[in-house]
Each structure stands twice: as C-alpha cells, then as structure tokens.
Amino acid sequence: MKKLFNSRSSMADDMIAGFLAAWPDAAVIGKHPRVVRRRALKIGKVSLLIGNGSGHEPIAMGFVGTGLLDANVVGDVFVAPSPDLILEGIREVTGPAGAILLISRHEGDVINGRTAAMMAEDEGFSVHPLLMYDDISSAPKGQEEDRRGAAGTIFIYKILGAAAEAGLDLTALAELGAEVRDCTRTLGAALNPGISPLTGQQMFSLPEDEVFIGMGVHGEPGVGRRKLGPVRELVAFMLDALLQDRQISPGTRTLVLINGMGGCTMMELLTVFGEVAAGLAARGIPQTAPMIGSFSTTQEMAGFSISLCTPTQRMLDFWQAPHGAPLFPDLHGVGA
C-alpha cells in the first residue's frame, strides 16, 4: 500500500502547514507549532478546544473556526498530545470566561486531558474537561461512562461551538455538552483495514466476505463479525442495535450522522443514509439536517458509522448555526 508523505516524523507538521496555507483567514498557528487556533478570538467567550492524535482528519483541526473550535492541539499520528502541549493550547485561547476541554474517551486523551486541566487550574484558568463517549460497541448498556468516543462526538463539537459563540457561560456549556452526549449513540462497521502510518502495516485482517461491527478509530478490531450481505441487512442490524441501546419514540425528531472512516465512497455513504432514513421512517421517526461524509477517519480504512442524536429545539438551532470552520459542512438551512 502506498501513502503520500515526506518523512514519518514530519507527517503532522506538514499537514498543519497545508491547512494553514489553505485557510489563513480561519486559523493560525499559536505560540507552539502544534497549537492550531482560530484567527480572531472573541473576547469574553468561553473557549472550546480539544487535543488529539493526528491521522483522523478532518477532525479536529478542520473544525477550528468561528462558531466551532477555538483551538486544536495536534498530537503525533494516533498519539494523544502530552499534557504540557494541551496546556499550551489552553493558555493560547483561554480568558476569564474559562474553557471547555473536550476529551474523546480514549485512554491517552483522558489521562493527558485531565492532567492538562489540573495543570491549567493551578495556573488560575477555569477549565472544564468534558468527557465524550458514544460508541455502543465498546461497553454494555448501563456502563455508558466506559464507552469510547466515536463520530457522534461531532454533535457535541458543533452544538457547544455555536452555544459558546452565542454567549453561554462555562456551567451552562458543561451541562449542555453532557445533555448532547446523553442523547447520542454511535455504532460502526469496518470492511477493510487502513494502513498505519506508523508501521506501514494493515491495522487488522478480515476475510474477504466479512465485516467487523464496532471498529475503533485506531484500527482496534471490532466486537463481532458478520457476513457482508446487501447493505440493507447490515444497516437494519446496526439500526436495531442502536435503537435497542437507546429507544427513540415515534415522532421524535432525530439527527443522523453517517461518518465514513476514510475508504468509503460518497456513493456508499449515501446508500447507507438512505437505508437509515427508511428504517427510521418505518418506525415513525422523522430525521432532519443530516451530516454525511468522511469526518472522523482512520486513514484509508473502509467502513462507516451511524450516529443518532435526539436534539432539543435549542440544540437543533446550534447544530445548524452558521460557522467559519473550513472542513465542517454548512448545515445552515439544510432540512429546515
């Protein structure tokens, strides 16, 4: 398998250089070269930031901009940035209103994020670490707090980003973030492995006619295998699992996010969405303002996830609010 890069050690830095060259009006580099921050910080606003390993783009660097992230702290490929580096990001964008530090629940991100938040508190910053988890395959129902963060975390990024821009304070944002998390569920399926940029090797192996259900974002193998039949059957199985984990009553307006893992075509993702929308409609569940594309990726891994979120009207307004992040879709007016 071939991959485009200059050298393994410069991958993250070369990517950041390209991003900043493309959208200099949206984002700039901070004092530390691995802190990508919004160009014009808004005085008095609560900041929203996240640190994460690179290799999953466009998340999270591509979501830096007005009405979304104030900063992204970019780690090496698949490696959580150090607490010291996340602290640099907090210092870069945080004022008296404080900051929400988003943490997608993976061991390294949790440990380093919490450590960074403690270090920032010692320096006098008000930082609320918000743990995000949505992957129903990673821990059973009733143990939601042990689950991994997956693509459904994107609902939290966008809704909190718009809410912070609208002037909500730190406590209100922390509550809203937990509320979005608690009404979101995700399940993924992988068809083919990606190649780890670190090792040059396939991240797992899978027979030609099988899919893994519940693939992790670093190529962690899933919890169950199935024969790959028509996509209708696969989606029906996944939708059943999602709705068993969290019931949605008929008539409840639902947001759907179909996330490609890097190696699925838009043709495939739209087909998946069509089956999800039909499955929801058959249950009397209306959906609106969907997001479809490859946003949280694992290199060229072929696979997708389905995320469902049941927003309040206020959450829905924030979901569709205009923003200035270069690699987040414009949902303004869509599905209205």
């Binding site: 780690g75 490696v79 959580a80 061991e107 390294g108 380093n112």
Partner: protein, 173 residues
Amino acid sequence: MNETLLRHLVTRFELLEPVLNAIDAATGDGDHGTTMLTGLRAAAAEPDRASSAYRIAAGGASGTLFSLLIAALEEAETEPLPGTLANAVSKISMMGGAKFGDKTMLDALVPASQAHDARSAADAARMGLEATRPLAARRGRARHVEGAGIGHLDAGAMSVAEILGLFATQSEE
C-alpha cells in the same frame, strides 16, 4: 536524575525497542518500545528535568504515566525507593483508573512498591510481569481486542520491570 542510569536505560531500551513493539502489536498499536525509547532519550538529554522531558517527548497515555515512574526514581535519590514507588502507584491508578490485575504497568509496579529495597522491588516487578501473561486486559486499547491479550505479557509491565532492574543494579554499584 543520575545521568549514568539514564544512559544505561537508553542503551537497554535500544535493544528492547523491537521486542516491546512486537509485544504491544499483539494487543495495541505496536509502538510501546518506540515511545519508551523516545521518552528516555529526551530524559537523558535533560537529566535535571528528566520526568517532564520524558512526558513531553513520549506523548500518549504512557508518556504521562511512565513520567510518574521516572519522577519516583528522581525522588529516590533522596528517599527510599519503595516509598517513592507507592506514591507513583497512587497517582497512576488515580489518573489511569486501573488497578492491580488489570494487565497494565501497575501489575509490575504495585508489588515493587511493597518491597523493602531496590533489589527486592526489581524482583517483585519481574514476578508481577510474568503474572500478566494469563490475564485479560481491562484497561487501554487491549480490552477492545478479541481475546483481550490473554497469553501475551503486558508491554508496560515489562518496561517497569526493566527500568527497576537497571535501577537496582545501578544502586548496587
């Protein structure tokens, strides 16, 4: 921190890098040896601030957690080792949420922290490492893998045993 010890650690982990990567590849992303070596080289370059140099260079969960072990070795220059390890154990469990028996670095570190000197701590860590083989991982990426690493040693526990072994040898010289 003692520069000679740091140099010895770098030399030892240069040899161990592929071994640790291979053990880690069975259940994780196969970079534990590389991460350890990156961190130790940075620590050896700045012995006066070895633990923070380690943490910044290594990154990831293990960068933060192993920097607490390096800090315990720094503290051991002025107070007895098992006590400083006990301090590291409580911080590592608090941050990582793991406990003894979860197939992590703590399986080597907890018995070491209950020993009475550097040599018996190293021996206890080695026995703790061997005991990780039949265990199923309950923390980290390994717990999401089919089989949860049963039959494999834990790479983090191996690094703890190696570090404490070299520390004991060094303090006997």
